[in-house]
């Protein structure tokens, strides 16, 4: 290709070059390194497809199922969920499709394709825009210059890229998968690989609404879950806050010692503590009940977690134990935040004759709250979906005869697990986790809006 042709090549030629072979347009623009990199992505993707596929032998012509690689077979699998179940025989499973594997691989493939598509479009636009600049200014920008400029203008995206990549694949992928399951017939009667899963549209959502007799359980569990999530968050936050402020007080000596003691619940695996509390507060055999009877404080044993006639007690106990487990986290967090507050504020307040209470509510609290408000919402969310504490502490009990498959301390998430995972009703579980998601989402977005976090983003 000679110099003249290069200079005369109009925009669309460059664009078409790049859209057929990635990087070709950049080559015309004499941005060799950039062109090479685009080409590598292009060639790399094709290589992946060919290496993971089975393009060597096509006796019956090309079929996506038999010959497709990572990308093509992935998309095929996601769309069809397989066409041929495996069969069990004395020699083991025959060859065939595993719908769930196909589905996950398909989602991964689609995600990678989306990223590639983004590069593809970038590649074309870059070629065209690069050419435009050449025509307008007559200056040929080198790849190095381009990358330097890119580093300048794209700095935020570049430093965010590891986060984006991780969140996309490790956080988003399971969620997409979980959502898609809600539109399938994946249940205990339809378990791959000897059976195929199918797309069933909105059937499962309709089924859920038909189980009216469960509405009562759902509403009961939901209201307790909300109460739990709010109280669990608020109590741990404020106790943590309180302890952090106390330790921070100039009156207190041996700060390090106190902090080291209070941090212990955090250092012990939560499940161990939960099991130990369960044993300590066993109503009939636990030492706490016995102790209270022995010293004559109560005439009968107190059934902390197991008294069906007193569900409030079990709920309060669960909150208290959660407080024990959770406050060190906020104490450490807020302890760090407190050091972020300038002494000058307090000095100014002291000169104005403010009491320590006033100083706390007017200075300390607003600053710390501002820094931690979004975290409170996140903590609310994680308490809403707090599987561990309830599961290991009460197992959902005490029993509630008015509920279906749920006890009085069951949270939406523990109920959902018992109901759907234990019984392998995966599609129903997915439907319900979508419902839970909408409830939590609405609640926390409303809350965030109130705390004015949004305006500051």
């Amino acid at each position: 290709m000679n110099e003249q042709a290069d200079r005369r090549a109009p925009l669309w030629i460059v664009g078409i070059f790049s859209s057929v072979i990635w990087g070709a347009g950049q080559l015309l623009n004499k941005q060799f390194l950039k062109g090479f990199i685009f080409f590598c992505i292009f060639a790399g993707s094709i290589a992946v497809e060919i290496l993971t596929g089975n393009y060597g032998s096509m006796p019956h012509g090309f079929s996506l199922r038999e010959n497709g690689g990572f990308f093509l077979k992935g998309v095929w699998g996601l769309v069809t969920l397989g066409t041929q179940p495996r069969k069990m025989g004395i020699t083991g499973l025959t060859e065939g499709d595993h719908s769930i594997v196909l589905m996950v691989n398909g989602i991964i493939a689609v995600m990678v394709i989306a990223i590639l598509l983004f590069f593809y479009i970038w590649n074309i636009r870059d070629a065209v825009n690069g050419r435009k600049r050449i025509i307008q200014t007559g200056v040929w920008q080198t790849s190095t210059e381009y990358f330097k400029k890119l580093w300048e203008s794209m700095y935020a995206y570049i430093v965010l890229s590891p986060s984006i990549l991780l969140l996309l694949f490790v956080s988003l992928l399971p969620i997409v998968f979980g959502v898609l399951i809600a539109f399938t017939d994946y249940t205990r009667n339809n378990i791959p690989p000897t059976k195929l899963i199918h797309w069933v549209g909105l059937d499962n959502f309709i089924t859920v609404t038909q189980v009216f007799s469960w509405m009562h359980t759902f509403l009961g569990v939901l209201s307790w879950t909300i109460v739990w999530a709010i109280l669990a968050t608020v109590t741990t936050y404020f106790l943590g806050f309180f302890q952090a402020v106390l330790i921070n007080s100039p009156r207190v000596k041996f700060k390090k010692l106190w902090r080291s003691i209070y941090i212990l619940p955090w250092a012990i695996p939560g499940m161990v503590s939960a099991l130990v509390f369960k044993s300590m507060f066993n109503g009939q055999f636990g030492p706490v009940s016995q102790f209270l009877v022995d010293i004559g404080l109560t005439s009968e044993r107190i059934f902390w977690f197991t008294d069906p006639s007193n569900t409030t007690l079990a709920r309060v106990m669960a909150l208290i134990i959660n407080l024990w487990l959770g406050f060190p986290y906020f104490m450490a967090l807020i302890g760090g935040t407190l050091t972020n507050i300038s002494d000058s504020y307090y000095e100014a307040a002291r000169i104005d004759g403010a009491t320590s209470g006033q100083m706390f509510w007017k200075i300390t609290f607003p600053i710390v709250y501002k820094a931690t408000a979004p975290l409170l919402t996140m903590s609310f969310v994680s308490n809403f979906n707090n599987f561990g504490v309830i599961y290991f502490l009460t197992g959902g009990g005490p029993a509630n005869p008015n509920y279906n498959f749920a006890g009085s301390t069951d949270l939406l998430i523990t109920w959902l697990y018992k109901l759907t995972l234990d019984n392998r009703l995966y599609n129903m579980g997915a439907v319900m986790s979508i419902i839970v998601f909408f409830i939590v989402g609405t609640f926390s977005l409303w809350n965030l809006r109130k705390s004015k976090t949004f305006e500051e983003l």
């Binding site: 996950v104 691989n105 991964i108 700095y155 935020a156 995206y157 430093v159 965010l160 590891p162 986060s163 991780l166 969140l167 490790v170 956080s171 399971p174 969620i175 998968f177 979980g178 399951i181 007080s249 009156r251 207190v252 106190w258 902090r259 080291s260 003691i261 209070y262 212990l264 619940p265 955090w266 250092a267 012990i268 939560g270 161990v272 099991l275 130990v276 044993s279 055999f285 024990w324 986290y329 450490a332 302890g335 760090g336 935040t337 972020n340 507050i341 300038s342 002494d343 501002k370 820094a371 996140m378 969310v381 994680s382 979906n385 959902l416 995966y426 986790s433 926390s444 949004f454 983003l457």
Partner: protein, 281 residues
């Protein structure tokens, strides 16, 4: 007169504060002693556990160290914990730096999506992550555990650090910018030191997590050589027919040691992060 009364009430206040601290300390310590005590207990079950066991014995620790691969699990977990800490802090601080200090397209949407990602109940996560790791060759590797560990807390850490950095006045970075520092230099020389209390906090949480997570790791790790402490310990109390609680408690005590030690060691960074007198508003 007035002065005297003030110091009098001050004494009362101090006494009250100490009283509260002591009561809280007792409430914290009693169950902890119970757990430690049960690790010295001679029978296997949890119900037999007590703060001061009847026949204290070191047998559980001995069994743990000799009859199981605990030392190996421990080393694996240490590796994962340190890597988790390093990468977790690095990636989330970089991200938070971007969210806090730069204006860019998609920032608001990005922050919101991160928040929303957190709200979805994790359902069938195991299958998806398993298949992902299968595709990328990360199954049965400690690297895989690190990826999961960093990603799991990333949304929370991003918001946490962003909130903290927002609280630090940009005047510091601006000054450095005027001095001709690049953004990466600002990040390393200005942001990292200023954010050290929160970095410490994130570091400790990142360090602690691999000692306790077992639900996902037990599916991702198959060989004995790659097991972490959490996987090994929780298999000891997997069901009614396998209830070696005292052995488990001994393991839990050994787990708590490095986490508590790290926290205590890093305390001064957590608390004295900012140089006094700086403009922190």
């Amino acid at each position: 007169m007035n002065n005297k009364r003030k110091s009098h009430s001050g004494k009362w206040k101090t006494a009250l504060i100490y009283l509260e601290l002591i009561v809280m300390a007792l409430v914290i310590i009693y169950p902890v002693i119970w757990i430690v005590g049960s690790s010295f207990g001679s029978s296997k079950g949890l119900a037999n556990a007590s703060a001061i066991p009847a026949n204290p014995t070191l047998q559980n620790f001995k069994d743990l160290l000799t009859k199981t691969d605990f030392p190996l699990w421990y080393m694996n977990t240490l590796k994962v914990a340190f890597a988790n800490m390093f990468f977790g802090v690095l990636i989330s601080t970089l991200g938070a730096y971007a969210f806090s200090r730069f204006k860019f397209k998609g920032k608001r949407a990005g922050l919101l999506s991160i928040l929303i990602l957190q709200m979805f109940p994790t359902f069938l996560t195991a299958i998806a992550v398993y298949m992902l790791f299968l595709n990328f060759g990360l199954l049965n590797s400690l690297t895989g555990l690190i990826v999961v560990g960093v990603a799991a807390q990333l949304p929370y850490n991003l918001w946490l650090l962003k909130g903290y950095l927002d609280g630090i006045s940009p005047s510091f970075d601006e000054a450095a910018l005027i001095d001709g520092a690049s953004r990466t230099q600002i990040f390393v020389r200005v942001i990292l030191p200023l954010a050290s209390p929160m970095l410490t906090f994130v570091a400790v949480t990142q360090f602690a997590a691999p000692w306790m997570d077992f639900i996902l790791p037990k599916l991702l790790i198959s060989s004995e050589e790659k097991k972490t402490v959490a996987i090994g310990l929780f298999s000891m109390i997997s069901d009614e027919t396998r209830n070696e609680f005292t052995l488990f408690a001994a393991g839990a005590v050994l787990v708590a040691v490095p986490i508590a030690a790290l926290y205590i060691a890093l305390q001064k960074y957590l608390i004295n992060g900012l140089t006094a007198g700086g403009d922190k508003g």
